[in-house]
């Protein structure tokens, strides 16, 4: 069965016999190709004259032998092939593939490169959001320049449509926090302070944050997908050559829409969270009126406005990141998906980091 191979000094003869069908090819591939490789720069003769039939894969084997020998710099001769077969096998030699880039010891330069790329991205994102904010101010001063239809559509999607899920999540989180907090407070006999904690935690922090996370998942991703698709279908190019600025045309209405709806949504989310926090209190016989009264007494307007302000900032950042990600969409089948993922991940990372920064800022300002 196995091919008959004779090696003399500097010359290898590989004689193939019988049927070279798919099964056989698989059996002899390693062996034959290995021998061709072993011939190095010597000469190799492949004798196919005793083959009854050569299948498609058989020709591929012959081509592989030829390629191996030619690239190693050796000489090859094929005997016993029809003219068509010979020309096919000859063609398959092709170009030498590029040598794969050296993989080793690039760790440090890779880390450096990545760090620079991340910084670049960050600077670019900040610039983009800044420009979006300027466009926003411009649009508010000249409302006629605005794409009202896009604005209203996105307001509907990011506001009304998001309401149920945002409030539900916020309510559950409120419930969990109150429930987990009560035993700890009980140790100090301070379980009746739960409303105070809920007021601070939900209204200043979690209401806006949960709203923003849902916004990143729903609207940030939608912006990236919509604009990314327009990029792929050349609609963004069409806008550009029509003299219509894609930033103003696509980004402004979307960012403005979420900048309007998110603070409102955040107020609802906070309320739902506070309500959720009341549920464990039922067991302690605290009435809703008393609970809300306590929450109300624990916070002031500044706390409330702080939450609303945060929601506004988060909205602009998430909207900006989503749109930017869409506009940066590359070509190719996975490009829109990649942009969408990037929008969500970058959006969530950005708001959480930003939240930390804002906490520091408010602290420094003594708010």
């Amino acid at each position: 069965m196995s091919p008959d191979v004779q090696s003399t000094a500097g010359s290898t003869v590989i004689a193939l016999e019988g049927e070279l069908d798919d099964v056989r090819v698989r059996e002899v591939w390693e062996d034959v190709v290995g021998r061709a490789r072993a011939a190095g720069t010597g000469s190799v003769v492949v004798d196919a004259s005793k083959l009854n039939e050569v299948s498609g894969t058989g020709l591929l084997l012959l081509a592989e032998i030829r390629r191996t020998v030619v690239w190693a710099g050796g000489r090859i001769e094929m005997r016993g092939l029809t003219a068509d077969q010979a020309s096919l096998v000859e063609r398959a030699v092709g170009h030498k593939p590029p040598v794969p880039r050296e993989q080793e010891s690039q760790f440090i330069s890779d880390v450096g490169e990545t760090a620079f790329r991340v910084l670049d991205e960050l600077a670019d994102t900040v610039r983009f959001i800044g420009e979006a904010a300027i466009d926003l101010a411009y649009a508010i001063r000249r409302p006629r320049s605005l794409r009202w239809r896009d604005l209203l559509r996105v307001m509907g999607q990011s506001g009304i449509d998001s309401m149920p899920v945002t409030c539900m999540l916020s309510g559950i989180v409120g419930f969990i926090i109150a429930y987990q907090m009560m035993p700890a407070l009980d140790r100090y006999g301070a379980a009746d302070q739960t409303p105070t904690i809920m007021g601070f935690a939900i209204i200043r922090e979690l209401g806006p944050l949960i709203t923003a996370i849902i916004l990143a998942g729903r609207s940030g991703s939608a912006f990236a997908a919509e604009i990314g698709t327009m990029k792929v279908t050349e609609e963004v190019n069409a806008l550009t050559t029509m003299g219509l600025n894609p930033e103003r045309f696509l980004v402004t209405p979307r960012v403005l829409a979420v900048a309007i709806t998110t603070p409102l949504l955040s107020v609802f989310a906070s309320f739902a969270g506070v309500l959720g926090g009341w549920l464990p209190m039922i067991a302690r016989d605290m009435s809703l009126e008393l609970y809300l009264q306590n929450v109300r007494n624990s916070i002031d307007q500044v706390d409330f406005l702080q939450g609303v302000f945060k929601a506004f900032v988060f909205a602009v950042v998430i909207g900006g990141i989503g749109c930017r990600s869409g506009l940066k969409t590359q070509v190719g089948p996975g490009a829109v998906g990649a942009s969408t993922t990037r929008a969500v991940v970058a959006g969530i990372v950005a708001i959480i980091v930003l939240d930390g920064v804002l906490v520091g800022l408010f602290h420094a300002l003594g708010i």
Binding site: R91, E234, E235, N237, A238, T241, M242, L244
Partner: protein
């Protein structure tokens, strides 16, 4: 064959032009002029740089070097101002149509006019309808683009490209994805629009039937160095162009042997 339009005003001028990506030229040595009212075809095999050249002309890609003047504005030295000017004087039909999916066909055509703010609402609507009638789509004016066939989308895109009275209309691969009959119909429409409106049309295509139907003159790109092989009317080039160009226009592939020899 069609005769060249009487007017000799030059609307596009390329001199020693190189175009490419990120400062690296993929196409060099481009020299041609396009006269007002001409139908000018950019032809050549796949990957020879037709789309790249077109992107440079429609201001989406800065030229690498040389001169590229569109309606008198130099895209190499003119900076942002020239880019804006050129955008005001061109209309583009993108390969897939690139209609805005959220707008109806009529709104697509009207959009540029709305932003321009020169016309009243009624005027814009009737202008858009007339444009759509020119491409036989007036009865579909209230449909969404997704409800149109590929060929209809392209025709709507031509109407949109002509909406702001551009001096030059660019068409990117108009026949791609169309059946032979629709494709021939499209060619006829292009000729009709060019003759009736006197606009200059620049068409990127490698479809030979299209080239012979519509082109007053053409430039053929290609070669190992990716450059301009010839310029002239398709008929001239078929009869007396360089061998490569004659082969392209006569639809003969390169010699089997010469291809095999390349290693």
């Amino acid at each position: 064959m069609l005769t060249t339009a009487a007017s000799t005003e030059t609307v596009i001028e390329a001199k020693d032009l190189s175009v490419g990506y990120g400062g690296r030229a993929v196409l060099t040595g481009i020299n041609f002029t396009v006269a007002s009212g001409e139908v000018f075809v950019i032809g050549g095999g796949s990957g020879c740089g037709k789309s790249t050249l077109m992107k440079a002309m429609i201001t989406l890609l800065p030229p690498v070097s040389g001169t590229l003047r569109i309606t008198g504005h130099d895209l190499v030295t003119g900076g942002d101002e020239a880019v804006q000017q050129v955008r005001r004087s061109i209309g583009v039909m993108y390969q897939g149509g690139a209609l805005f999916g959220g707008l109806t066909v009529l709104e697509n055509v009207r959009l540029g006019m709305e932003e321009q703010g020169l016309f009243t609402w009624t005027e814009m609507n009737s202008l858009a309808l007339s444009l759509l009638a020119m491409v036989d789509l007036d009865e579909h004016c209230n449909k969404m683009p997704s409800a149109l066939s590929g060929g209809m989308q392209k025709r709507a895109a031509v109407a949109r490209a002509m909406a702001l009275s551009p001096q030059i209309v660019f068409l990117d691969e108009p026949s791609a994805g169309l059946d032979p009959i629709s494709s021939a119909g499209f060619d006829q429409m292009v000729v009709r629009l060019a003759r009736s409106t006197g606009r200059t049309f620049v068409v990127v295509t490698h479809e030979l039937p299209s080239i012979f139907t519509i082109a007053d003159r053409m430039v053929v790109l290609g070669g190992a160095q990716k450059t301009q092989l010839a310029i002239g009317s398709p008929k001239e080039l078929l009869e007396s162009g360089p061998p490569d160009v004659r082969r392209f226009l006569a639809r003969q592939p390169e010699d089997e042997t010469s291809q095999g020899a390349a290693s």
